[in-house]
Symmetry: C2
Subunit: 170 residues, 2 copies
């Protein structure tokens, strides 16, 4: 899929079909995170693929929307540690992963964390390591075809602030 | 360009050719930021396109690598304010913008901030607003063709930690 069409057509997908993600797509998603640029190339992240059902339940309880984790075909927690703009870098990696998923027709959503300490224990993180986000992935329960609109149409239809509110030219 | 090829082939570009970016490409880059997903759709950002030479000089002095700003065809400061994971969201927007640029053959680089206060004053930010990054864009002085390798080859050649160091399956 063309990059600009992917960027403009992707929306957060929270309701997933009961359908597994092929392993090659999982590997592309993880590689998209691993290859991301980061400040001083520190690669401050780890990517935890959570498959064990009991552990998944603990992860579900530590985010604001447990249902996203319950329904997802793939759950990846991104953790960061060390100095520098690690949260910013985690955002870059997450976007790379979600766009790469979308390129394969797979939806995704970043999940806000409600209980950071529980997550810390569940993933057995180091003391200076913390979870930046929990990404949930899956085919959409109600799929939509990005190709059915142009990038410009996707932008127009999105619920976003107008250009003159967010862009300033100085 | 295919999303996965864009994700895997893009590298930070810091040395720019003396060549302007067409206005339609500038608008795509800004829209790619504006359309980005964010926590609770708060869209916590503003995008400052810095064109005035004197203001540019002040921006250059407030980042670690002033030369990137001096050489860039387009300079965009992303600021954030308010509650929530705003820095993470800024990372998502920045990645959308840099991938969209790369889709048009345009390089980019996020610039670390050395003097946040100077930047605050130069951009006349609100008290609770701060700059997440300064993105510099331009055609590469030494261009390279993403199509000349496969995504897998781009990954293999990147200076990144191996999979077993950053990915854990639980």
């Amino acid at each position: 899929m063309d990059v600009f069409l992917a960027v403009t057509s992707r929306r957060e997908v929270r309701d997933y079909a009961d359908r597994a993600i092929p392993e090659d797509a999982v590997l592309r998603i993880l590689d998209a995170g691993r290859i991301s640029g980061s400040s001083k190339n520190r690669q401050p992240w780890r990517f935890f693929v959570v498959e064990d059902p009991q552990l998944r339940e603990r992860i579900a309880k530590s985010v604001y929307a447990p249902g996203n984790v319950h329904g997802a075909a793939l759950v990846v927690a991104i953790t960061v540690s060390g100095k520098g703009p690690t949260t910013f870098d985690a955002g870059r990696a997450a976007q790379n992963m979600m766009l790469t998923a979308w390129n394969d027709g797979i939806g995704a959503c970043p999940n806000g964390i409600s209980d950071a300490e529980a997550l810390q224990q569940a993933l057995e993180l180091a003391e200076d390591e913390r979870t930046a986000t929990v990404l949930t992935f899956g085919y959409a329960a109600r799929p939509r075809d990005p190709e059915r609109r142009s990038p410009e149409e996707w932008i127009t239809r999105a619920d976003r602030k107008p250009v003159d509110e967010v862009v300033r030219r100085l």
